[in-house]
Symmetry: C2
Subunit: 337 residues, 2 copies
Amino acid sequence: MKKPRWKSQRVTIKDIARLANVDPSTVTRALQGSERVKKSTRQSIEKIAAEVGYVPSVAARTLVMKRSQLVGVVIPDMTNPFFAELARGIEDEAAKNNLRILIRNTEGQQLAEKDAIKLFMELDVDGLLVPMARCPKEFYERLEESCPVIHVNRLDAKYHVSCDSLRGARMVMDHLIDHGHRRIAFVNGPSGPVKEPKMAAYKAALNDNGIHFEENLIFEFDGALQSTKEIGNQLLSLKTRPTAVFAWNDICAIGLIHALNEQGLSVPGDISVAGHDDILLAGSVLPPLTTVHWPMYELGQESVRYLLGLRAGYEPRAPEMHKPSLVVRASTGPVPS
Amino acid sequence: MKKPRWKSQRVTIKDIARLANVDPSTVTRALQGSERVKKSTRQSIEKIAAEVGYVPSVAARTLVMKRSQLVGVVIPDMTNPFFAELARGIEDEAAKNNLRILIRNTEGQQLAEKDAIKLFMELDVDGLLVPMARCPKEFYERLEESCPVIHVNRLDAKYHVSCDSLRGARMVMDHLIDHGHRRIAFVNGPSGPVKEPKMAAYKAALNDNGIHFEENLIFEFDGALQSTKEIGNQLLSLKTRPTAVFAWNDICAIGLIHALNEQGLSVPGDISVAGHDDILLAGSVLPPLTTVHWPMYELGQESVRYLLGLRAGYEPRAPEMHKPSLVVRASTGPVPS
DNA sequence: ACCTCGAATACAAACGTTTGTATTCAATGG
DNA sequence: CCATTGAATACAAACGTTTGTATTCGAGGT
């Protein structure tokens, strides 16, 4: 035994046909439950198929049907519980409708995103689910000619399921301002479909409350937890410290709180910190996080339903905007006196 | 326009052949970079292929080659950062070796695991990566006849990449015992390849230190964060409270700490809590978690390398046991006096 | 001028399914 | 008893690649 070899001796429909003394076409139809085969033959075929351990060839079927019956899902960052939750919604709903999905992770990189899509196209997927896509609009418009593409939170896309990112951010800002905060730092994140709306909400909130915008209260978070330490330091080195921070997401908020603690500041005693996403652990950390809850699980489910509807030939209904909600916990409080 | 339809008008190798005035077989060979085609023809073919936007059909190729050049990965729970990290390792290493991988999530359910495997077999995958598989050994043994299957942490599997779960658990126990703890509660988790070793390590540590085992100090965690509240309550309703808890994983530990805090206990002042997994946030929560670090990213990378080696025909090297490490942070301390 | 050789390319079969059409066969009606 | 019908099944082509073998063609040697 030079090499361990793996035999790919597939049992085919022809083998079954031979054993059952019928034509291969009859086997297909029997396995599909077609009306055209007699009940008794179908049963004997099913029996044989089970006995020999028949495994259909997706490749062959795809070749003739021109569609693989698979749906590709492109997730930016599985490490982030926020997206993991969305993926769960997608998977559960897909399973319910026995749709088979395939997941790829892009780590937030455009290149990986394109690569994922490329693979899916080569696989003749039946549809694409692309939450928070990073690639430009035009890139997806080309794809839409060959298969349905559902976006999550891409208002400018043909088909999308979205949540009002502007509103969520605004709620956080209003909450902070209501508590008397005026110097509110804002940590923005990597580009994507929610970056701009959040920034817009931040500015609008300041503006509506007569607070003037300061460039040096704006920070940038790249998504890596360890980067929060640096942001924390920058924040503390400002001449006048902000009394509150609106962090890009909960990961960022938790990291920031940790960094601030290390510098001897307490949250929310000395400084309030709000997050975004309401990840699983958001309510269990100390202090429990004030954050914005997005119905990610539901958005996942709905995107699958949307796709199913489209495939069934329904007219796409007008995209309805889901509403995020503010979850006030203990990481935010009044301005320290 | 009754229905929005998606044309699946693939540009095929034949189309390119026609445009280039050659035979389809020449096109394939050109695109493969075969020596058998003249450089000039190859170049013109490549040019045409790019112009018309040729997308190869994985289905057709798989059909004739009997292998899809894809590797299936079955992850138990993407929501758990522990596995997400492993997935990252797998993906990165796969990308480096341009191997294409497909991920499926099982939510820890055997049924979903079987289903995932079934799909992968139908797709003629080139290999399977199955971390912390829930399904019985025999199930996988059958598969191993048709394609290489690499397990993570399944010592009894033919091919596996593992980390010493016994040792990790033992280190936590020794750490706690060194700090004077005698009544140590243990929260075990759902069945899988690490459940038994952890329990064994727990018992061995007690035994080696002359502490006798108490059944009512053993709890069971199902993986859902909210279940920790109930466990916390049970824990506090014991006649004599344990002074330390070894939790199944970090999620469980964080939930438990939160539950204990709510009941007015401080960690580690009143009770020490240790976790397992060293998830991303473990060091950033309050108190930072004492936990066991597993090199998940590396295990992911290595499992891919292992697979690659196997496919290349190398003899499988003796599986080396990776070593976990104890990360002592602030959630554990001496026994309260 | 003929033969050989090798480079470049063409031909054709095969992979496992699906599906439209053709065939068989028995039962029914006249 | 033959024509008609309809149920059950068989036949055959097609899907887009890959690959072993055959063909073509021109150059080089004799």
